[in-house]
């Protein structure tokens, strides 16, 4: 018997409550002190498309999905046909007994649990369609988990909808639970058992980013809806009155970034968010912020391109795009977190960098990180520092000439010029997208151009000195060295555990800043590594190309995946075994 090592999956038509039920299950695991990781799959449709949510629950911290489903809830027959091969031996399918299912269609080692969803709903007299809850309850009975925890989550989930809805949902789940207990007595291979009281959060990367932004004092968020960044807009909008934030759903992404720039210019911490297509529209504004040295944070959540691509799926195909988008050279810090903690702390770091260096800062994520829930320890608010950068001092302002403009773009050693904002007496200047002198006057003079360009670019050097270098995880003298960035972190960590069991030593360097790039560190790691691989969710191996550009060194092997799905640890494991033994 396997205890507390379970992958549970629910599938059905969009609109059948697949996601909501899955989240209730995941939350129930978390509240029992267990660790949870979930991943959703859905097409870009609202009604009728096939949706799944796969939830992994264990008694140790887990970092990604794995292959092999132990319990499959099929709200329709299509789910069975699509996912039957994912089931492990001894796994079970809970499905509607009204579906006609030929036993020969299913592998012998899979158990079937037909449940008369509709009869049960009729019996309890529930008014709404709730076969998802019946099935949820049945699965809880199957794995012998504590029903009270589930009832508690249902209560909290539907708190705002009132007692009747809470009761109907709980009754439906309980009826499913009772039916399974009665008709299929205890013999299932996989069990879940409460080991504590939880206390951890169930968060997506987008949730963590929003918490990071709010904690950082973000006062203005502007966006145009685009998967997988939309839930940032929803989160921020839901919290706007609680934390006094102005959240604007704009007419397009051009407006979104220009609004964030207006807010940054006025002196508030401002953020906008989008995905690749929207960032194309933001590109001119991105350069404007670089040129006029206005702090703004841009969340860029990748999905597979080109063009509309696969809106609801995952890829890391925009690494080079974000590094090169928008004309001209300007300092372009790009932060790329790999998990929820990094989403939280690096978003607030992005605000500090933006204000300290007076430049736009990108936080780059992808759908896999943006939308997957993971149990996460509460963030440590004491770790957060707010650095608003350099403002002009009272004496600097007093000394400034009444007749000219304030030297807002003063040449300085580290490239950062003391800042003023509207409302500050004697700090008056005009920010201009044209090349300008120290006062902001337009000039095309060669000497000024050279000096001003150098001033702006010096900020990146100053930042590079301040950023911490990536650290190697794993044994120094490993057989294989993985270099990767972003959300591949989860499956890589899982794969490393598998490889360790197989006696293959692996270490891992996670790139947290695509720009300024940690060239020296990467070069030294490459020099001392025995074999190097990159693991990337894109076609060309963009990170490997960036490494070559920045270090002149070539990565040994590119482990790439570009089918719109994030890596499974098993896939990384297989390829690294090949590398190690090759």
């Amino acid at each position: 018997m396997e205890k507390n090592k379970l992958t549970w999956k629910i599938g059905g038509k969009a609109g059948e409550g697949v996601m909501a039920t899955g989240i209730i299950f995941a939350q129930s695991g978390s509240r029992g002190g267990l660790h949870v990781y979930d991943i959703n799959e859905y097409p870009s449709l609202i009604k009728g498309g096939h949706n799944t949510l796969q939830v992994r629950v264990e008694d140790r911290e887990i970092f990604s999905q794995v292959k092999g489903v132990n319990v499959l809830i099929a709200l329709n027959k299509e789910t069975i046909l699509m996912h039957r091969d994912e089931l492990t031996s001894g796994g079970g399918i809970i499905y509607d007994s009204a579906e006609v299912l030929d036993r020969k269609e299913i592998r012998e080692d899979i158990r079937l649990y037909p449940v008369p969803f509709n009869n049960i709903i009729k019996e309890i007299g529930a008014e709404t369609i709730m076969k998802n809850n019946v099935a949820l309850g049945a699965s809880i009975a199957l794995i012998d988990y504590d029903f009270d925890i589930v009832a508690g989550v249902i209560r909290d989930t539907f708190k705002r909808k009132g007692d009747r809805i809470i009761n109907d949902n709980t009754m439906a789940a309980k009826a499913g639970y009772d039916y399974l207990k009665k008709n299929f007595p205890d013999d299932f291979n996989y069990k879940l058992e409460k080991i504590g009281t939880g206390g951890r959060m169930m968060l997506t990367g987008n949730d963590a980013i929003c918490m990071g932004a709010i904690k950082a004092g973000c006062k203005f968020y502007s966006a145009y809806p685009m998967t997988p960044a939309s839930s940032i807009l929803h989160f921020m909008a839901a919290q706007e009155r609680r934390f006094n934030i102005v959240v604007k759903h704009t007419e397009d992404e051009i407006s979104a970034i220009n609004m964030a720039i207006g807010a940054g210019f006025a002196g508030v911490r401002a953020m906008c968010g989008t995905s690749g297509g929207g960032f194309c529209l933001m590109s001119e504004g991105y350069g404007l912020a670089g040129m006029i040295e206005v702090p703004v944070v841009i969340i860029m959540a990748m999905r597979p391109g080109p063009s509309t691509g696969m809106p609801t799926w995952s890829e890391q195909g925009d690494l080079k795009f974000v590094l090169n988008v928008s004309q001209g050279d300007f300092p372009r810090p790009v932060l790329i977190p790999g998990d929820n903690e990094e989403c939280f702390y690096m978003t607030q770091e992005a605000f500090n960098i933006a204000e300290k260096y007076q430049t736009p800062v990108i936080v780059l994520t992808d759908k896999n990180l943006a939308e997957s829930h993971k149990t996460t320890e509460k963030f440590d608010q004491r770790r957060i520092t707010i650095d608003r950068g350099v403002y002009a001092t009272a004496s600097e302002l007093a000394a400034s000439d009444e007749k000219t403009f304030f030297k807002r773009y003063k040449y300085t050693e580290n490239g950062v010029s003391p800042r003023t904002i509207p409302g500050m007496k004697k700090g008056i200047y005009t920010a201009t997208s044209d090349e300008h002198d120290e006062e902001g006057n337009i000039t095309e003079d060669t000497g000024n151009r050279t000096k001003m360009m150098e001033k702006r670019m010096r900020k990146l050097d100053s930042l590079a000195k301040e950023l911490k270098q990536p650290e190697m995880v794993g044994p120094r003298d490993a057989a294989v060295t993985i270099i990767a960035t972003g959300s591949t972190k989860g499956p890589i960590k899982e794969a490393m555990m598998m490889l360790e069991k197989d006696g293959v030593t692996v270490n891992y360097l996670q790139i947290l800043y695509l720009s300024p790039f940690p060239s020296e560190k990467v070069a030294s790691v490459m020099d001392s590594a025995r074999k190097t691989v990159v693991v990337e969710n894109n076609f060309t191996g963009q990170l490997a190309d960036i490494i070559r550009e920045k270090t002149g060194k070539s990565v040994g092997r590119r482990i790439l995946k570009y089918d719109g799905r994030p890596f499974y640890p098993e896939e990384i494991h297989r390829e690294i075994m090949e590398v190690a033994h090759g």
Binding site: M202, K219, I261, F265, V268, G423, T430, A431
Partner: protein
């Protein structure tokens, strides 16, 4: 008291001699002095074009951004600090061409700010191509055989898009323009002033004389600015006689009025060094 010398910039405008932009700048400065607003509490946000240079030629805070986008920048500047008097400034290409989408949405929002459009019916800075307000048949560098489309009607658009102060003025009548700007700033809500601005270098049709022969003052003609339908009828007048002045004015809640987040104080004045997210984190357990 704010004096003209307090807002004069040292550098002189580099527009073509005789350009209508000089009249607009003069009227704007006159309005600021008349309204007695401290220059550090003014933000002038402009787009790209000859018109976009305005913030460089007077001493207030300014942001000379990118082509077509002054309105979103100005909107957020105002929402972040509603103690500022905010102007957006741009050309007809900037506002009614590339920035048309923002133009309509800005009017729907009714954020308290003033938008001045230097409408010269031509692209000035790029040396004379057709603009969205160029008249049908006008020959320009990009339409050597004459413009095929009918022109955009910014006044009519504004009436239907929810702007709450809609006026037209003329760069050749600085007194009228200054009064219009003063009224627009005093108005609570989004104000549009479409300004006829002769471009002496590239528009040889719509000249100072052309305007002078046609314009008449709506206010002198007893137009009722509270009557939306009458305003719409006036917006359709074109040809021999063309109205300037206030077409429509109405008081309705501003965007800022609807935001409890900024009721106590502007966003920019709110402390951010001790935001507590403990309860927010609890919500996710």
């Amino acid at each position: 008291m704010v004096r003209m010398i307090d807002i004069n910039a040292i550098d002189k405008p580099n527009w073509c001699p005789g350009c209508g932009d000089f009249g607009i700048l003069l009227a704007l400065k006159g309005a600021i002095v008349e309204l007695n607003i401290e220059p550090e509490n003014i933000a002038i946000i402009s787009g790209i074009g000859c018109s976009g240079k305005v913030p460089h030629w007077l001493r207030t805070y300014g942001l000379h951004g990118i082509h077509g986008r002054p309105l979103p920048v100005a909107a957020a500047t105002r929402l972040s600090n509603h103690e500022l008097t905010v102007f957006a400034v741009g050309g007809d290409g900037d506002g009614y061409g590339i920035g048309m989408c923002h133009f309509i949405h800005a009017m729907r929002r009714n954020i308290d700010m003033t938008y001045i459009v230097h409408n010269n019916m031509i692209y000035g800075l790029t040396t004379g191509q057709t603009s969205p307000t160029s008249e049908k048949g006008m020959r320009t560098k990009s339409t050597p055989s004459g413009v095929i489309e009918v022109p955009v009607n910014p006044i009519a658009l504004a009436i239907s898009s929810g702007a709450t102060f809609i006026a037209r003025s003329f760069a050749g009548d600085v007194k009228h323009l200054q009064k219009t700007i003063v009224d627009a700033v005093k108005h609570r809500g989004f104000s549009l002033i479409d300004v006829f601005q002769p471009c002496v270098s590239f528009n040889h049709v719509n000249t100072y004389d052309w305007y002078k022969q046609r314009i008449y003052d709506l206010q002198a003609a007893g137009h009722n600015t509270g009557d939306k339908m009458a305003a719409f009828v006036k917006s359709q007048e074109w040809g021999e006689k063309i109205p300037i002045g206030v077409f429509y004015e109405v008081l309705s809640p501003t965007y800022e009025d609807e935001l409890p987040q900024i009721k106590e104080m502007p966003l920019v004045k709110q402390a951010i060094d001790n935001v507590d997210i403990s309860k927010l984190m609890d919500d996710f357990v």
